[in-house]
Each structure stands twice: as C-alpha cells, then as structure tokens.
C-alpha cells in the first residue's frame, strides 16, 4: 500500500512538471480560494497574531495585519499569471529567471527559510498535548515533553505525507473544518471575555523599543515578511485554475484577507488573555485553555493537536513535491525524510518560536528580492512572453542556461536586495539602521531594490542579449 502511495506521489511530482492544457483545468475562483485558504489557515496564524499584538495598540494592530499582509500579496500574486497562462509549475517557470542550476539553489534556500514554520506547528501540538494531559491529571513536564511531543508531531505528519495524496486529501478534508471550528470557538471565547473598551484601551509593553512607531515598523515588517513567505507555497496548484484572474484573486484574497483575519483572531485572543489574567501570553494553546470552558477546551485542544499533524503532513508533502520537481532523480521518500530531519533539528534547538520576528525577517531576506525579480522579469523585461521549449530544454533549446546554469544578473540583483535589506534592518542583530524602516519595514525596500536593479541591468544592450536569447523561439500567448 505504501509503495503504491509513494508511486502516486512520485508520479504526481514528475508529471506535475509537465504543462497542463487549458481544457484540463478544473478550479474556479471559489475552488482555488478554498484550497488556498485550507493551506494558509493554520495554527501558526495565532502565533503570528500574538506577535503582532505584542507590538501594537488595537487600532494599529488592525492596520498592520490587514494592510501589511495585503500590500505585497497584491504584487506577489501576479506571479500566478504566467503559471496559469502556460499551465506550468512555478519552479519550472522560475528557470527562466534564475537559470537551470540557479533555480535549484533558490529553491533550497526558500525551503530552508520557510520550513521552520512547521517547528512552530509542532510546538503548538506539544503544547496542546501537555494541556490535554493536565486536563486529565497527567503531569507532562514542559521542558522534557515539549521536544519529545514536537518530534512526534513531525513523525506522524511525515507518515501522513508518505502515505500519499489520498491520505493528504482526507487529512485536508478534516483539517479545514477542524481549524474553522477551533477559530469559531476562539472568536466566541475571546469576545465573551472582552468589552469594546478592553480592546481599545489595551496598552502593549513597548519598553524594548525606542517608540511606538518603531514597534509599528517591526510589526509591519513581520506582516510583510509573513505575506511574502507564501511565495514558497505557490507550486503547481494555480495552473489548475481556468482563468488567470481566478488564480490571482483566489490567492490574493485568501492569503491577503482570510489568513490575516486568522492572525487578527490570534491577536484579539492575546489581548483578551491580557485583560483577564494580566499576562500577554505567546502560547495560543495556553490562551485557548484559559479562555474557553473546560469541557470545550478539551475538545478544542484535541482539534488543535490533530490539525497540527495534518498541517505537518500537507507541508511535508507539498515541499517534498517542490524539491522533487527540482531534483527529479531523488526519491520522494528521502526528500520527505530530509525535511523531517531538518524540522526535528529545529525543534530540538527550541529557538524558533522565541525568535519569531528575526526568523520572519531572515525569510524576508530571501523572499523579498525573489518576488521583485519575478515580477520585473516577466512583466517588464520579457513582456509576458517566454520560450516553453527552453524552459523544458527541448530539442537543444537552452536559452535559460546563461552562465553555467546561473542567470548572473538575477543573482547580482538578488544580492543588491539583500544588502539593501541589511542596510535598513539587520534581522540577526535586530538593529534598525535607517529611518526607511519606519515607513514600511525592510523587506519591502529589498523587493523594490532587487526589482529595480534587475530592470536597470536589463536595459544595458549587452545584458539584453544575455537575458533575451529566447526571443527567436517565443511561445505565442495571445
């Protein structure tokens, strides 16, 4: 059975690389919206909301979460257009931007900076089980049991992933209603614990910051980097959409509104916790257990624990498929095991949740320049046309080979984006180095700088010839 499932995953990964024809598309706007929402709405939304709540008053929290998530989602989702138009996987299309070898490096970097989110999911799973144990009089010491239960979550999630698409389909069918049920209970619990004045009078502890404006800058940076992190999850799904607009608005409204609303719920829950107990908890499970009626809390904690496993399964499967599309000769199982080992190492380290802000910004260092490059390359430099024959290296067409498989201009522009990011805000040291940070964080400037550098470079005649070797073999689009 497992070998059959594994074969199905292998086939999906390998044939997922082939372009999908227009008549084979099945997703309408609503289909795609719900699928993406199911993927995006996960337990870590609460962690994100709690982090943002700790930096803002209620009014600025709303502005930061809704505005910060949607702003770059509007731009990032434009990447959907070529994917739907030509029916190809995002990482296949990215070959044109980074080169045949360069795209592998970029893919690995993106997986490395994105996968730590699953350590947070595993941490929430451990926390839920510890609380459940406590409800039944079983004392599971957090220090000892948290890493053990976290590893258990990863192991169970990886088993679900390896079981293949059918197991995943069932996991997703249970996951989405479960998470929505948890969200409904959480909203009810939070609002029954609060009055309107509690929310508006909430004062976060900003003693670690120079000013409220600096804290707002950090929260904006957190939200923009959070929204950019979805670039790694685009994969092959959008090409199932019947129209380019279905994919664009399905993703933009899901990642840009549904996911932020879940984050906002996490933030409100955090404020509710503070108003009732005087503690701004950073643990969504602890808040859930404290605010919800004990009988309902037990059921909810069980749901949270289950959904954490399902999220891990979906994530492990999706990212193993992403890696498989880049390394088709490596087996699906070994890739899933490598991903599991990576998250387990992060769980044993135990520092991801404690360093959520810097961790998101380090992700932003990678995502932001990539997004700038992708948009400028397709819409401005290539004028929405490229060569499918070169994308797939058919009949000796290799326009995207560049220098040894690397598009040097894209990597130079990427480096410029990284330098700009660090010149504005260094996520490792946490130091703000420029006043620009206060307007819109640092990832946004990095995205703009990389895109601008790529555009300026592409205007030089010699580089134009280097970039646009595909002009003689373009695939007709409209």
């Amino acid at each position: 059975m497992s070998s059959v499932s594994n074969k199905a995953a292998e086939q999906e990964a390998i044939f997922g690389v082939a372009p999908l024809l227009h008549e084979e598309r099945t997703y309408s706007f609503w289909d795609f919206f719900f699928v993406v929402s199911g993927f995006g709405i996960a337990v870590w939304c609460y962690s994100q909301g709690v982090y943002i709540a700790s930096l803002n008053h209620f009014s600025t929290m709303i502005c930061s979460i809704l505005g910060g998530n949607m702003l770059f989602m509007c731009l990032m989702c434009l990447v959907m257009v070529p994917i739907v138009r030509y029916g190809i996987d995002s990482w296949v299309y990215f070959r044109a931007v980074f080169g045949y070898t360069g795209v592998k490096i970029v893919c690995i970097a993106v997986v490395i900076v994105n996968f730590p989110w699953y350590a947070i999911g595993a941490d929430i799973f451990a926390s839920a089980l510890i609380s459940l144990g406590s409800s039944f009089g079983i004392d599971l010491t957090a220090v000892a049991w948290r890493p053990i239960l976290g590893v258990l979550c990863i192991v169970l999630g990886t088993i679900v992933a390896i079981a293949g698409p059918t197991a995943l389909k069932w996991a997703n069918r249970v996951l989405v209603p479960t998470l929505l049920a948890v969200a409904v209970v959480i909203v009810f619990a939070a609002f029954s614990s609060l009055s309107g004045s509690d929310l508006t009078n909430f004062e976060p502890d900003l003693t670690a910051f120079e000013s409220a404006r600096q804290a707002y800058g950090f929260s904006l940076e957190g939200n923009i980097a959070f929204s950019m992190s979805w670039i790694s999850c685009i994969g092959a799904m959008p090409r199932l959409c019947k129209r380019e607009s279905h994919a664009y608005f399905g993703a933009a409204l899901s990642y840009g509104t549904m996911v932020p609303i879940m984050c906002l719920i996490g933030g409100i829950l955090s404020v509710a916790m503070f108003c009732r107990f005087g503690v701004l908890s950073d643990d969504p499970v602890e808040m859930y257990a404290a605010l919800v009626h004990p009988a309902l809390a037990i059921l909810g904690l069980f749901f949270i624990a289950f959904s954490s496993i399902a999220v891990q399964g979906v994530g492990s499967y999706s990212f193993a498929i992403v890696l498989k599309s880049i390394f088709p000769k490596v087996g699906f199982k070994p890739l899933a095991f490598v991903l599991a080992a990576y998250v387990i190492a992060l769980i044993l380290w135990g520092g991801v949740a404690a360093h959520l802000g810097p961790f998101m910004s380090i992700g932003g260092i990678i995502y932001a320049p990539i997004i700038g490059l992708l948009i400028v390359d397709f819409f401005i430099v290539r004028k929405q046309r490229f060569s499918m024959r070169s994308i797939y290296r058919l009949d000796g067409n290799e326009s995207y080979k560049y220098h040894g498989g690397f598009n040097l201009l894209s990597f130079i522009a990427f480096a410029i984006g990284v330098v700009v990011m660090i010149r504005i805000y260094n996520p490792i040291t946490g130091s703000v180095n420029s006043g620009l940070f206060y307007f819109i964080g640092a990832s946004a400037w990095s995205c703009v700088a990389a895109g601008l550098a790529y555009y300026i470079g592409s205007r030089l005649p010699s580089i134009q010839n280097y970039l646009l070797k595909d002009r003689s073999e373009l695939t007709r689009a409209k």
Binding site: I14, R85, F439
Partner: protein
Amino acid sequence: MSATDFEKEMEAEIKRRVEIIESDDYDFGVPFSKGNWCLVGTLFVISAILITIGTVLSH
C-alpha cells in the same frame, strides 16, 4: 517501469504538450484584463491607506 523509462515517458509527454500549446489554435483562456488590473490597483491602494493610517496612529 524503470526510472529511465519513466523519464523518457515524461519527456515525450512534455514535448507533446508544448507542441499543443505552441499550435496556432491553442486557447490560452481569458487573459488578465484591464478590469483585473484596476482591482489589483484598488487592493494595493487600500492596503497602502491602512498602513499609512497605522503609521499616523502609532505616533
């Protein structure tokens, strides 16, 4: 089916599909319209306004 057979089958399938996409009568579907671009701009502006309001309120 061996890995090599699988790869050959994959390559043949990709080539067949690319040829279909390159043919003159292939339907690419409804492209991203000007109305869609207007909606993108609207979402962008609303987001920018929200961020600006937050910046003003955080003073």
